[in-house]
Symmetry: C2
């Protein structure tokens, strides 16, 4: 008799798992049921800011594969179907139909929990007013677009200057709005060190975006029609026709928690390297609802990124499909942009390295994206963090213009291979004047970091 694989959540991780398992096992051997409470599957949440900003068409363009396309490939996608309980003992999931509320149980041999994450909505007065939006789902994106089209907006306040916040600032500037970004921390992009974050702030200000740091939102003021009209901080009131939340996300693990599945410190599910939920042979999890091992810090962390979700899905699907695959962990790579400013990081920041018990030296270098004499050469700043004594690369951060961001991949691979900064200086990277100076900016940073490591060794020896 065929086994049944039940997937909770029809987005990147869940549907990648389903598609991969389907490729490996025919329908007569494995029945695949995917439960999705919304109406769409396999969409790019990461594309939403560009849709809102008018750079890409939406929402259809953001859907990689519709429920119907999945069905044609032999996956029983049930949209409008919310999983409301997992019964681990009897290997079954209780679902509720979004339209008529009907409940039913569906048994499984393999359960895949891929319930994603939800935007953080601080519990502040006025947070539920009209014109206040998260940007996590296509429905969120549609709500923002509809709102902007039906309520002519002049001023936008973005709460939070992380990736979503800065991408939404770009999107709203692209729609001609006057944008204020409120950030509680000292600098925007708290995934960077503050000395790199300040470069982002200055560049955003140069784009006409008002970036207010050290500013925690305390309240949304609401007008007579129930719409947001301003965001209040301890110090000031920022008028807003529309408010966008860019405060990050938290894993959707209420269902998993209620079932007794193990959660980590960030609230994400804990899995083994094959993406099996720890201690549960028949339950798998991946995507934004799990924690991942950071290979540099040695600790689990929560990283909501479509690229990890897709990899998790492939690993889960391969394993359920009868093959073997693992997800070894992440090194903390992320890349983003605000207009023409490119921002990237990998490994650990200073604060993260300190939390991990590591001691380190840091360097900041200036270089250019192409040979200095080649047209379009753009300045870029690279910060490198290296472990004391061993010289192992611990992290790299880049702020620059065209050609800056994806250079972080060089360091991401070097981190995975646990290279030292001295080893990194010798890397054989692509060189030609239109592509790079003769010393790639990443190598310049590694070289300077290697010198700093050596200087620290000498200073320690003298002390």
């Amino acid at each position: 008799m065929a086994e049944r694989m039940v997937v909770i959540g029809g987005d990147a991780a869940g549907m990648s798992a389903a598609a991969q398992a389907r490729r490996m096992r025919p329908e007569e051997d494995l029945e695949i049921v995917a439960l999705e409470r919304g109406r769409r599957t396999s969409y790019s949440a990461c594309g939403i800011p560009y849709w809102i900003g008018g750079r890409v068409d939406g929402p259809a363009r953001l859907v990689a594969r519709s429920p119907e396309e999945h069905r044609r490939r032999g996956i029983d996608v049930r949209t409008g179907t919310e999983a409301v309980e997992i019964d681990l003992e009897r290997q079954r999931v209780r679902t509720r139909d979004a339209d008529d509320g009907t409940e039913r149980w569906t048994g499984y041999d393999h359960l895949v929990v891929a319930t994603g994450a939800s935007p953080l909505r601080p519990d502040l007065p006025g947070m539920d007013a009209g014109g206040v939006h998260g940007v996590q789902t296509l429905e969120d994106g549609e709500a923002v677009v509809r709102d902007l089209e039906s309520h002519p907006a002049r001023r936008a306040v973005v709460v939070g200057a992380g990736y979503i916040g800065v991408e939404m600032a770009e999107a709203l500037v692209g729609r001609g709005l006057q944008v204020t970004v409120l950030e509680r921390a000292e600098q925007p992009m708290s995934t960077l060190d503050p000395d790199m974050g300040v470069l982002v702030r200055d560049a955003m200000k140069g784009m006409g975006i008002d970036v207010v740091t050290g500013a925690a939102a305390r309240e949304v003021l609401v007008d007579g029609a129930g719409r947001a009209r301003a965001v209040v901080t301890d110090d000031a009131e920022y008028p807003a026709d529309v408010v966008v939340l860019g405060l990050g996300v938290r894993p959707n693990t209420g269902l998993a928690k209620a079932a007794g599945l193990p959660l980590g410190a960030s609230g994400g599910l804990l899995t083994d390297l094959a993406q099996r939920v720890r201690g549960h042979g028949d339950v798998w999890a991946g995507g934004d609802c799990v924690e991942v091992l950071n290979l540099v810090s040695g600790s689990e962390q929560h990283v909501a990124l479509g690229t990890h979700a897709n990899k998790h899905g492939r690993v889960i699907g391969t394993n359920i499909g009868g093959g073997y695959a693992t997800f070894p962990g992440v090194v903390g790579t992320a890349v983003s942009k605000v207009c023409d400013l490119e921002i990237a990081r990998t490994g650990l920041t200073e604060a993260q390295a300190r939390s991990a018990g590591l001691q380190f030296v840091t360097v900041v270098t200036e270089s250019t994206s192409r040979a200095g004499y080649y047209p379009g050469a753009q300045p870029m700043t690279v910060k490198a963090i290296a472990e004391r004594f061993t010289g192992r690369l611990l992290g790299l951060q880049i702020v620059g213009r065209e050609g800056a961001g994806k250079r972080v991949d060089i360091a991401a691979v070097a981190l995975t291979a646990r290279m030292t900064v001295e080893q990194t200086t010798a890397l054989d990277l692509g060189y030609a004047p239109p592509f790079s100076p003769v010393w790639d900016p990443v190598l310049v940073a590694a070289r300077k970091a290697a010198s700093a490591v050596a200087a620290d060794v000498r200073a320690t020896a003298r002390a």
Copy 2:
């Protein structure tokens, strides 16, 4: 008493060595003499095609540091001074003054041989005619620019479709010439496999460049004024107002050979990992005149690239300076472009892998530079080569448009770390829609290669 470091060749490797040694040891401790037969130092030969094409100003912009600037830093640069003999036993170099022919001996404690490479000029009739140019030195570049300005040219023939050849094709197209490229091999860019080279040929044809493959130049026809008027192959005659040689280079090691220094199979000097000439404690060598270890094939090869030359120079200068550094080898990375076509490779081609005694599987994948829905997403083709059974990545080739070329760095680092293609699929690379699809094109290729390795294992087990 101060030691004396004598550098033969005032370009990337030699002057990097001099500058690095100077940083580490003061003048009273180390005298540094650099012998350069030309008039310039430390220039970017790689920039010459862009200068000829009018994309960058030359020649001054291509000089990173002039003789005078080096002198101000305490390096005794002697231009117009050609080294004509190395006397290893008495540790001295005989030089000849370019102006008056005066010869003299200069003693050394440390000798750095950095004599570079020269363009291959096949011994064919007419090769010395006016209008036939190599493009290796700034003098070559000046000669081409002067020639094009003084002899209005309509048709150019480029002999050889390697990196220099295709870059010169772009340059001459940029100057409005009608360009024919003659290539002896089956496809242009013989540093790629032919199935990737054909993509380059097709793209070049799409740019209006006439690419003739399987066409070896046999003769340059000369007009009454002693100028080239056509290039003859076995099959046809190609009219030419100007002829550019893009046949690659060979190491300038006549001087070293005469002195009895060890040369490898490609004619380059053989060094140890610290860039000391093998068996000679006081002679160092780097740049285009040496052979380098290819870490993937395990053999020495000759690779003339400014990026290696600069690294060699730093290593030599550090070691002479009293520090310690090594150059571990290369993985064979190169990147180039023809107009908007980006071409990159790293590791081994199929032919190179076969020569190294390796068995392998190959895959070719199509992907895009950005998320498919993001504006400016460009198609790119990635070929991956992986070792049978072990799955170790052996090589990667990319042909695409904007955003394609520098992705080769991901594979360059993975090759250095001897990663398998399965390990490569799990790399944590920068992802956001403007920068990459959710599976980076390099990961797509690695994933498909991992499947091919597994399929080969299964097929072998069944056989």
